[in-house]
Subunit: 320 residues, 2 copies
């Protein structure tokens, strides 16, 4: 007989899940009381929160529960890294249908654990919540330590700075486009075949590996602005431009395939600006320069292609 959220109850599920989760190095009090207590060594804590909803944000035909745990952790860790901080802890609330099998939630927990171990060693899960809902919903809140440094904001780019990126450009968007093109409705067999045929793009979409450690490295190297690329380079670069009152001029020869690089969402790479002459740290590579003006340019020409990142619009959230 299968064990489900309904048959085990919240307490029973949590007893099975918590032992699988990684402890945080900074955990002073973990799960089991009304709240957790986490170290904030420099007297500040960096906080970000993000939800993933079945339908708009993922399909169960495409993502395994391990993938979902991995991606829920990775996307939140990336927002912490984008401040120049080191991720310290996560809390994870999940709402799942009552008939959800415990094996699904165990694999989800393993995905959280494996992502933290791979991308942010020392970061762990210090608490959570389990609810019943008709719509599988994952809400992660992540915490980080600035180690005494100022946070790296979107507003500090200055004319003459180098624009640089660490991580993939466009692969996650390409992966999603391949998934949408592979079958009229989300289809597990088609997704499995695509993973073999296009491993890099599918991994970028389903199990992203944002360069978490490069957030701290960028801050130490003196980054003047930084953000996590979630909605595509064109949209996100425009955010730095607007917040800083400058333009970002990108070089087409640094971008590769322009369409995916500029308009593909969910890269979770780090876009940053550095003072001229900075030795770019970690995996950062130059993309262009900060210029007087506004918005995003490519080879000096304003990039005006209307772009938005909402590929799931019009899809039936209940399907797949």
């Amino acid at each position: 007989m299968s064990e489900t959220v309904r048959s085990l109850g919240e307490a029973g599920v949590l007893r099975r899940i918590f032992p699988r989760l990684p402890a945080a190095a900074g955990e002073l009090l973990g799960p089991g009381d009304d709240a957790a207590v986490v170290a904030a060594p420099d007297g500040r804590v960096v906080i970000t929160t993000d939800m993933m909803i079945h339908g708009p944000d993922f399909r169960l035909a495409w993502s395994s529960p391990h993938d979902l745990g991995w991606k829920a952790a990775a996307t939140n860790l990336s927002d912490i890294a984008a401040m120049g901080a080191v991720p310290t802890a996560l809390v994870v609330a999940i709402a799942a249908p009552a008939e959800t099998d415990i094996g699904f939630l165990e694999a989800f927990a393993d995905g959280l654990r494996d992502c933290c171990a791979a991308l942010a060693p020392g970061c762990g899960v210090v608490g959570g919540d389990l609810s019943v809902s008709g719509t599988l919903t994952i809400a992660v809140t992540a915490f980080g330590d600035l180690e005494g440094r100022d946070p790296v904001l979107r507003s500090g780019a200055r004319v003459g700075d180098v624009v640089a990126v660490s991580g993939e450009l466009g692969a996650a968007g390409t992966g999603l486009a391949l998934l949408f093109a592979s079958a009229p409705e989300p289809d597990a067999a088609a997704a499995a075949a695509l993973r073999i045929e296009h491993p890099r793009a599918l991994a970028a979409q389903l199990t992203p590996r944002p360069p978490i450690a490069d957030g701290r490295a960028a801050a130490i190297a003196g980054a003047t602005s930084m953000l996590d690329l979630s909605d595509g380079l064109a949209i996100d670069a425009r955010r730095i431009a607007a917040a800083s009152g400058v333009g970002l001029d990108l070089r087409s020869d640094a971008l590769g395939d322009l369409g995916p690089a500029l308009d593909g969402g969910e890269d979770h790479s780090l876009l940053a600006t550095f003072p001229p002459g900075t030795a770019l740290p970690g995996g950062f590579r130059p993309l262009g320069a900060v210029v007087a003006g506004e918005g995003v340019l490519v080879d000096g020409v304003p990039y005006e292609r209307p772009s938005g990142w909402d590929p799931y619009v019009g899809w039936n959230g209940a399907a797949g």
Copy 2:
């Protein structure tokens, strides 16, 4: 023409919502970047997270959006208070159907604001997330400051301690029972009539006012254990008993109407134990004593009535 989540988009909704939200006194960086930064003056941060799901956790026929914002804040603030901490900040993720009117979200934000102002001045909303979902879902993560004190755990009750409570006992459960009894399905007119007829019980259920400041006061007075009453006194007192390796003997003459007091959920009152002779702080009143043994007793007799807190089971989550 009405303005909805779909017509305004995430950025448009957030522009309307954020100005309504209270700033936190400890906010070092608020909404608008990849993450927020909040002060953690003693080098630690208390963290709790909780989801509210349409169907299992609330009905739109019974709760106004202002009520929902209020309750989402209050229940999380109460978990922070139960550690002996002072609430400093919230992040709030909400997933709502695309056709949700902006007025609904504005009233929800006002409920968050009014609850913080009333129960935890200085606590504010430092960040959030907005998603589209078929199931209205609210995920709040709350933060607190221990002001240099140790957190008050569930495990510190000692034989001879006084058992005490601050806040209502049973009113929230009575309010919910009245709502369920009032009509065969959730009904707004019936709920409105009940609010007039039974204002205290309905307010306890729909807009709880947990004694947030008494958490800090209890810690300062030397409370040996404390928790937030969410699943009913009998279940929650058993948690302190189990964690501390003791029994909690309650006096029937202190409980009032036994059934609701012991088995009514969602009081969000604070149950604590204090060393004998402690002058009970704030709104705390004595309920009994910590004794050798285990579990919960009433007038020395083990209280074994099977009790659980899941009154929505069997109701159709889509209705109301």
